[in-house]
């Protein structure tokens, strides 16, 4: 449910849409039991790795050298260099590998040629198995449903696994003639292990905190990642080609760095329904969603990093318990005022309580290798060594709400619904605690009203709706706190505690934000229901947007939560389903088209602010700027000539970076569409799904990490020649300064402004292709199976980002800033996944 007019009753939790999942509780009529077994297998491979080059090797300016970059000489000249491990500046490494020295004590020669690239050596095919079993049945009064599932997934990088067990049971019972009970329980255990992933900008992971993708993507082509030893036999530390050994070997990192998360989740929803009369009923619903999670970060010592703690080994374990209680009490009444007019009413109350508790310890300084107990580390603390934030936190919040809905229907072709909800929340001060948000919707079926349904126009429905919703701030934003550190500073062996005013100014006047939406929709079925479409147009305004805004530090604080700003989002969504071909022999071709577009604009910021960083960093991120599309990306840009607008080339031959940030582009796609075709014939089904995304820029550091380093197939031709950047010189004349290939690509894609790494994200994609077969009843008659089907499918099979450099194979689905408002960034997020496999379904 997307429109606010539908989700008002769900309160602020529903303001971004509601997905209603009905778990099977079983039917209330007598049915024979049924068991369904699903078994599937898929292969999991990396779908968006660049095509690596095979001509040039490690070095810079066409000379060999152990750089990060790959702008060295050609690899087909039979060149040999001193073996990288024997040529290391680190004595510890030289001494550990005597096999790389010859009889005179000189390093052996190492072939400077093209070795297998990371896509073959590092990335691999993972296997995904999923088994699930469902049973359901019912007697006269009671139905049940039980499910068991097991999933085992391997990622496309080493040591990345997910294992999940889930178990569910649902019961629906008519206890008496008037009272029914529905209850469903789900229990799931999920265990994920992975090497760490962190943001990177093309020169290694951010802040020295390891990321498995940070270095591996630009492995120089003349470095034998698969063949060189990666572990020092003496102290088990990481060994790699750089003479200063300042990059962690990706294979070592995959083996000895691990993040894990184990979640035990229990979910229950129980409702009791009592019918007072045929018209009047009351329902009480109780939901409990609780999980415990154990998160660990295990970093063995011996991996080079800018962060000394990472080098010495870190073990961080965090235990989390999160519980959500939700209760609803709802009264339902329905009646008919006359034959034509029906009426139903609903009055309900809701109470929700969220509590999050977290405890953790972080230890640094590992003694015995690969032993992760806090007692094996030199010092432990209740603070995270990276961010210095405390690991022991609790957070709780409460919501209470009362809601009501009235529905009138006239002759089943005119429906009017009026609804409203009033909430109280615990995250704002008392004066601002209450907010009322109403909604209304009207739908009309002219074909039924005026009875002109025909075989051309089978049905038509018009609907218009107005809905509102609220958003509440995160807890604890209204009062300034004191931040304290008992171990603030050490001098001469003595510890000094420190206290300081928190850097977030509490805002006692903070209020909830209000969303309002108007939606207009048309649904129709035409041509004997062979063509059905659904069009909706909407405009959503958000007022008093809660923004965590930076403020001038000269006020004494860095940030505060404010209600400022207005945002407007206009959009359209269209879906059409057609059956172009349907024959008597049973062939059926169904085609579905989806189209959507939206335009978010910041109409007002207020509060003296010109722009706010919504996600990202102060000098590169998504911004909210008055009058501009929401989330517009700003970053560093080229110095441009005032008259011609061309980028200016400095006397060094490279572009210059302008001192003010510039707008780099709008990451919101102009429109997105998909086209699904399903062909059915006698039990066979072929399903093809294509997608297209138009525009929406992406700022990609994967380009910075690979193209700018010269490892992909792109910057290959004529590297021995000189290049001239397009643009003008400082005096305005056309640029004619020649630069080397290394300078052209490295200086301008990597060290240059962010503008060079921003690309239009238009993408064509073959999202899914599947082919299935349902065994015919005749065949199954002699087997214990009631139904059987098998299907082969693949997802993310092919895509092309139309405006990215060709050999990047970039997948524009990346979400570098995670789930939130950020959009359009890739901070070496890692490749996307392609899955190919099959599923077998049997029903007994």
């Amino acid at each position: 449910m997307k429109g606010l007019s539908a989700t008002v009753l769900y309160g602020d939790q529903g303001r971004n849409g509601v997905v209603l999942i009905t778990t099977k509780s079983g039917a209330a009529k007598r049915r024979p039991s049924e068991i369904t077994l699903n078994q599937s297998y898929f292969s999991n491979t990396a779908a968006s790795l660049p095509t690596y080059g095979t001509v040039y090797g490690n070095g810079f300016q066409q000379q060999p050298g152990f750089f990060f970059s790959n702008f060295g000489p050609r690899m087909d000249q039979g060149l040999t260099i001193a073996h990288p491990i024997a040529a290391s500046s680190v004595a510890n490494i030289r001494n550990a590998f005597p096999q790389f020295f010859d009889a005179d004590g000189n390093p052996v020669r190492y072939d400077f040629r093209a070795y297998p690239d990371p896509s073959e050596v590092f990335f691999r095919r993972g296997n995904i198995h999923n088994t699930s079993l469902q049973m359901s049945g019912s007697s006269d009064r009671t139905g049940f449903n039980a499910s068991f599932g097991y999933t085992n997934e391997e990622g496309f990088i080493p040591n990345n696994t997910l294992e999940k067990f889930n178990f569910g049971l649902g019961v629906s019972s008519a206890v008496t003639d008037r009272m029914t009970i529905n209850s469903s329980f789900t229990y799931a255990i999920t265990d994920v292990k992975s090497p760490p992933v962190n943001a990177a900008f093309g020169s290694g992971p951010s802040g020295g905190i390891p990321s498995i993708f940070a270095h591996v993507l630009y492995t120089p082509r003349s470095v034998d990642l698969g063949g060189l030893p990666y572990e020092n036999p003496l102290d088990r530390s990481s060994v790699y080609f750089r003479s200063g050994n300042d990059i962690v070997n990706p294979l070592w990192a995959a083996e000895y760095y691990r993040n894990s998360s184990r979640v035990n989740r229990f979910f229950n929803s129980t409702s009791l329904n009592y019918d007072f009369t045929d018209n009047f009923a009351v329902t009480y619903r109780l939901g409990l969603d609780t999980y415990t999670e154990n998160q660990e970060v295990r970093l063995n010592r011996g991996g080079p990093s800018d962060n000394a703690n990472v080098q010495n080994g870190i073990y961080r374990s965090i235990d989390i318990r999160n519980t959500i209680w939700n209760q609803d009490l709802v009264f339902n009444y329905n009646t008919r005022f006359s034959d034509a007019i029906g009426f139903s009413a609903l009055l309900g109350g809701n109470y929700r309580y969220d509590v999050y508790e977290q405890n953790g310890i972080a230890s640094v300084g590992q003694l015995t290798f690969d032993l992760f107990r806090h007692t094996n580390f030199e010092s432990s603390a209740a603070r995270d060594p990276f961010s210095n934030l405390p690991l022991n936190i609790t957070e709780e919040q409460r919501r209470m709400g009362i809601y009501s809905q009235l529905t009138l229907d006239y002759n089943d072709y005119l429906f009017l619904t009026v609804l409203g909800r009033n909430d109280w929340t615990s995250t704002v001060e008392q004066e601002n605690r209450r907010i009322l948000y109403p909604g209304a919707s009207l739908s009309f079926l002219p074909t039924d009203a005026f009875d002109f349904a025909s075989s051309t126009l089978n049905s038509l429905k018009l609907r218009v709706g107005y809905g509102t919703s609220a958003g509440f701030p995160d807890p604890y934003r209204t009062r300034t706190v004191i931040s304290q550190n008992t171990r603030g500073f050490e001098q001469g062996g003595n510890l000094f505690p420190t206290q300081g005013l928190g850097t977030v100014l509490g805002n006692p006047d903070l209020k909830p934000e209000l969303h309002e939406e108007v939606e207009f929709g048309v649904e129709a079925a035409l041509f004997d229901n062979r063509l059905r479409f659904d069009l909706s147009l909407y405009q959503k305004n958000t007022r008093d947007l809660i923004t965590f805004a930076p403020i001038d530090p000269s006020t004494g604080y860095m940030n505060t939560a404010l209600n400022i700003g207005r945002m407007r989002n206009r959009g359209m969504e269209f879906q059409a389903t057609a059956v172009p071909l349907q024959t008597a022999t049973g062939f059926n071709w169904e085609s579905i088209v989806n189209f959507g577009l939206y335009r978010p604009v910041v109409t007002e910021l207020g509060g003296g602010l010109e722009e706010i960083v919504v996600a990202g960093f102060a000098d590169l991120g998504n911004f909210a700027i008055e009058g501009r599309p929401f989330n517009i990306i700003k970053g560093t840009g080229f110095i441009r000539d005032e008259q011609s607008g061309q980028p200016v080339v400095l006397p060094t031959g490279d572009y210059g970076t302008a001192s003010e940030l510039v707008e780099l582009g709008d990451p919101n796609p102009a429109w997105t569409g998909s086209w699904i075709n399903t062909f059915r014939y006698k039990g066979f089904t072929l399903n093809v799904m294509m997608e297209y995304r138009h525009k929406g820029v992406i700022m990609s550091n994967t380009v910075t990490a690979t193209l700018a380093r010269g490892v992909t197939k792109d910057p290959v031709v004529d590297r021995e020649m000189t290049f001239i950047l397009p643009g003008v010189k400082e005096d305005g004349s056309v640029n004619d300064i020649q630069v080397t290939a290394s300078n052209y690509f490295f200086n301008n894609y990597h060290s240059g402004p962010d503008e060079a790494n921003v690309f239009d994200g238009s993408t064509v994609r073959l999202r899914e292709l599947s082919f299935g077969y349902d065994l015919p009843e005749a065949l199954l008659g002699r087997t214990p199976f009631k139904r059987a089907s098998v299907a082969l499918s693949g997802t993310n099979l092919w895509f092309r980002a139309l405006n990215f450099p060709p050999n990047m194979n970039f997948d524009t689905d990346v979400l570098g800033l995670g789930v939130g408002n950020g959009l359009g960034f890739d901070f070496v997020t890692g490749p996307s996944s392609r899955r190919i496999g099959g599923t077998l379904t049997l029903t007994f």
């Binding site: 200063g244 080079p304 800018d306 050490e490 300081g500 004494g556 509060g607 003010e660």
Partner: protein
């Protein structure tokens, strides 16, 4: 009907039978403001003040060629984002907490005079530094929760506010000793030293104002000199770091950068040329082995390692006779001014920060890689904020330019010797004491100092007018290693030491006479408008373009 209403009432009351407490507004994880204590707040202020000094001085050191300056031109190197941290540490971490201390002390029945005095001294230095770098800054309207767009005050009035803060500090240092005394991370509760520091800060204040008010400055400085209570040898005001690596990380930030996986910053070829025998002096500065640590003692010979050794210097370098690429051939490995190149894998070969002031290794020709945080003094370095030697250099400049009482030559030489003795004596308190003593006996050091003083004294005697100022400023600059704030002020105030190594490009932009306003101020404050590099702070009346 009755049963229906009853059910309705019961039902609704069920909803209300809950813990209806909606007052969940105090964050349960941290103390509330009622629990703030001036003692712990002052600890935070003292630590953050050192951080403020370090962050602000970083830019000044690069502009005055004390350490390397990357990028092509000044405009490209320093964009508004570069100054964000100075602004935020200064206002949020230092000044806002000092304001809270002032409020708590005023409201408290228990006297906290010394807490207030230390806070006011640090506040004065912070305000003066903000003005020295940004010109007009918000002060009278700043630190007010209700005003999100404070107006910038004229630099001179903020300077006056700093001066007033020093007077309050003096009063609170000389009042009756209260029973509760603060933790003092600088002077260990020696309040006589604090008083002398306050006087020397007044000297700094007046010296900075000498271009706009020569008469007033002369009178005030003479009064300070005759008062006889300026900083003496042993009164050095510096922040001493610890050696704890984690929780808390209390090491000198420059040590943490260079000694984790090898050098992560470059030294300046120009500065190293001055410190070594390759310079015009022909002999080493006695402090060079304390300042710098060489990871190799011979220059690289392979152009793949360092491309510039096989290149010709740019034309303007040849004409000016500037050293290019490396200062000599004994392994002092740094970069030229405004060098924009990427970073080759020389982190275990380039020259890094040594024992003074970063707490690293003493250079006894051991020439080994520094990717180990247990080396040297393990990060227990100092921030040399206001040393007794600087006091003498300032007086030497005052005598030479204003004609205050005293002898410029005497102050110059005493400044140099005080600084050299301080470097040696502080270094002897570190873990490297045995290494130092083994390499150079105290007598050998004293001889080297005497020879140096004789040489500089001779240079001073043969120079005249501006030439003498050049000698004073050059020696002051060489003593300011680790202090970018005074170096930047010195260069703008006197124009000396002049004839500095230019950037690699023939046109390398205009020298910033002040900083740009930071991005986090411009985009959030409705009353903010950007300034230009060429804008001068209120006390700088020198001509445009007189320094580069």
């Amino acid at each position: 009907m009755k049963s229906k209403i009853l059910s309705l009432v019961m039902g609704l009351s069920l909803v209300l039978v809950c813990s209806c407490d909606l007052d969940l507004l105090d964050d349960p994880n941290v103390p509330t403001q009622e629990n703030a204590s001036p003692e712990f707040l002052l600890n935070q202020v003292q630590v953050q003040f050192a951080d403020f000094f370090n962050t602000t001085g970083n830019i000044g050191m690069r502009l005055t060629r004390m350490i390397n300056q990357p990028s092509n031109t000044y405009q490209q190197a320093w964009i508004p984002q570069s100054f964000n941290e100075i602004w935020s540490i200064g206002y949020v971490d230092v000044l806002n907490n000092i304001a809270l201390i002032e409020t708590l002390v005023a409201d408290s029945e228990v006297p906290n005079d010394r807490h207030l005095a230390i806070a006011q001294t640090l506040k004065a230095y912070t305000l003066m530094t903000l003005v020295d770098n940004f010109g007009d800054v918000p002060w009278s309207q700043a630190l007010d929760n209700t005003n999100f767009s404070p107006q910038a005050d004229d630099g001179e009035s903020v300077y006056q506010a700093a001066f007033d803060a020093l007077q309050i500090a003096r009063a609170n240092f000389t009042s009756d000793l209260p029973p509760v005394q603060p933790t003092d991370l600088y002077y260990g509760r020696n309040y006589d030293r604090w008083l002398r520091l306050v006087n020397t800060l007044e000297l700094k204040y007046h010296l900075n104002r000498r271009l706009i008010d020569p008469a007033g400055s002369t009178a005030a400085i003479n009064a300070l000199i005759s008062g006889g209570d300026l900083m003496q040898e042993g009164d050095d005001f510096y922040f001493q770091y610890g050696t704890s690596l984690n929780d808390p990380d209390s090491r000198h930030p420059r040590f943490a950068i260079d000694y984790t996986s090898g050098g992560n910053d470059y030294q300046s070829t120009w500065y190293m040329w001055h410190l070594t025998e390759e310079g015009f002096k022909g002999f080493n500065d006695p402090r060079v082995r304390y300042y710098l640590y060489r990871q190799v003692t011979a220059n690289p010979t392979d152009p793949d390692k360092l491309r510039c050794i096989s290149e010709l210097p740019p034309a303007h370098y040849l004409i000016g006779g500037f050293p290019f690429c490396l200062p000599g051939d004994r392994g002092y490995w740094g970069r030229d001014h405004l060098n924009p190149e990427g970073i080759p894998p020389d982190n275990l070969e380039r020259t890094v920060w040594g024992l003074y002031p970063a707490g690293g290794r003493f250079d006894n020709n051991s020439a080994s890689p520094v990717n180990n945080p247990l080396l040297g003094n393990q990060g227990g370095g100092i921030q040399p904020i206001m040393l007794a030697a600087f006091n003498d250099f300032m007086l030497s400049e005052a005598v030479h330019t204003l004609g205050t009482t005293g002898d410029a030559r005497e102050y110059l030489l005493s400044g140099i010797s005080k600084h050299m003795n301080f470097v040696r004596s502080w270094s002897m308190t570190t873990n490297e004491a045995d290494v130092i003593e083994g390499f150079q006996t105290p007598e050998a050091f004293a001889t080297a100092v005497t020879n140096y003083l004789n040489y500089v004294g001779g240079q001073f005697d043969t120079a005249a007018g501006d030439g003498r100022m050049r000698v004073i400023a050059r020696e002051y600059w060489l003593s300011l290693y680790g202090n970018g704030i005074e170096a930047y002020n010195l260069y703008r105030r006197t124009g000396q030491p002049d004839n500095m190594q230019p950037g690699l490009l023939p046109q390398f932009g205009t020298f910033p006479r002040s900083y740009l306003y930071p991005n986090n101020y411009l985009t959030t404050n409705a009353n903010a408008s950007q300034r230009a590099f060429t804008d001068r702070v209120f006390w700088d009346t020198n001509a445009a373009d007189f320094i580069d």
